[in-house]
Amino acid sequence: MSAAEIFWQLLRGAPYTLLVTSVCAATGLCVGLFVAALRRARIPGLQVIIAVYAYVFRGVPVLVLLFLAYFGLPSIGIKLSPLLAMALSLGLTAGAYLAEVFRGALASVDTTEIIAAEAMGFSRLQIMRLVEFPQMLRFAVPGMINEFTTILKYSPFAYTVGIPEITKQATALTARTLQGIEIYLCVGLLYFAIYRVVLSTIRLVASRYQVPGIGNS
């Protein structure tokens, strides 16, 4: 098989890789933001739950969580789709890390601005939505880029639960053609290309919201 043919074959997995990556990134983003908001609310009992969540999801390997969700849960009668299992393992793990990123970014928001907003009569929720989070997201850009690319690099796990993404295509091709070196070099190149595309997309979006005085300007 020629390199072009290999590439073409692998490319059929690319939409799945992107799907898995974006679903997990979206899950991580939502959960991370939610956790950051809950932390801000300082509800006593909740803090413990959040701490346990962060502790567990940062300490247990993603693959173990994935197998637990996909192969473990059916034994208690919960059957998940492969994509949902990915979201609950890789997505929630990303959420735990992103929550940390957001916590750090939130600490960079100037308290005098928050007090000024209080003094103007904004509610706690409005301050979070209008002042803290918009600034936090800008401070968090480097950390988010880091986490999103990590998700991309963990996305091959999806093949273990039957999602036909790039790595899955590669294993099938290798079994058929025995051209392992060529195939996995192509896989590496393809991931790298996707990585670059994802990176520039995030940078483009971030630069659209970039403001003088926050972050790298």
């Binding site: 100037d110 000024a116 003094a119 103007m120 918009p134 600034q135 403001v211 926050i214």
Partner: protein
């Protein structure tokens, strides 16, 4: 009837008493200056009036309505009090224009275009129209202060508080700040200004309240305070300030 009347205001932080029975009246349209050494409780006084700090006891009446106590709508109270902070505290992710429109849109219920129209008007008042698309990081200290003032004025507050309006600025800016505040006086805006800048006090007000150890220990024309006042604490403060320049 005074627009703002503070009676026997006490504020304690744990064991330490910061305000120990402060009495104060501000008439509508008046520019009132509160002076006192660092740590005398000037900022705390302002923060108690709009309930950023909970007063320990005493009464605060705005428009003859009591604003202490649990049943008061604190957010409504705060909307009616403009606050210009020492460090200006502009929202740095928002342009100058958006800094002014934020409260109008989210507290005043104005649509974007209505809010922008109002904001343009307020920015024109402080000569900042041409800078409306800049961000706080692109402004000088004096410009930030003007925006902070426009932001405070946009909600048509009953009274505007200034906390040390000159201390974060170049000493030469004092006159500019005074011009700005005097313009408010001409427009009939009520101002309560805390400062230890004697030059500023002279330029914006003829009567000054002197705060010491949590109490008002003098209220008088600034000339009388600064030239041989009977109270030794007043004498000491103004003596220092005068020789410091």
């Amino acid at each position: 009837m005074a627009l703002l009347e503070v009676r026997d205001l006490v504020k304690r932080f744990g064991e330490t008493t910061i305000l120990n029975g402060v009495n104060l009246r501000v008439q509508k349209g008046e520019v009132k200056v509160v002076m006192g050494r660092s740590g005398s409780g000037k900022s705390t006084l302002l923060r108690c009036i709009n309930r950023l700090e909970e007063p320990t006891s005493g009464s605060i009446r705005l428009h003859d309505r009591e604003v202490t106590g649990p049943s008061v709508d604190i957010r409504a109270l705060r909307r009616s009090v403009g606050f210009v902070f020492q460090q200006f505290a502009l929202y740095r992710h928002l342009s100058v224009l958006d800094n002014v429109t934020l409260a109008l849109r989210h507290l005043g219920g104005l649509r974007r275009n209505e809010a922008e129209e109002k904001a343009r008007h307020e920015l024109a008042r402080v000569d900042m129209t041409e800078h409306r698309h800049k961000f706080p990081a692109e402004l000088s200290g004096g410009q930030k202060q003007r925006v902070a003032l426009a932001r405070a004025l946009a909600m048509d507050p009953d009274v505007v508080f200034f906390d040390e309006p000159t201390s974060a600025l170049d000493p030469l800016m004092c006159r500019e700040v005074a011009i700005l505040i005097n313009r408010l006086f001409v427009d009939g805006v009520t101002v309560l200004c805390v400062t230890h800048d004697l030059t500023l006090a002279r330029l914006i007000s003829d009567r000054v309240i002197f705060l010491d150890r949590g109490r008002v220990c003098a209220e008088d024309a600034i000339e009388n305070l600064s030239s041989g006042h009977a109270d030794p604490r007043v004498q000491e403060f103004f003596g220092q300030e005068a020789s410091g320049r």
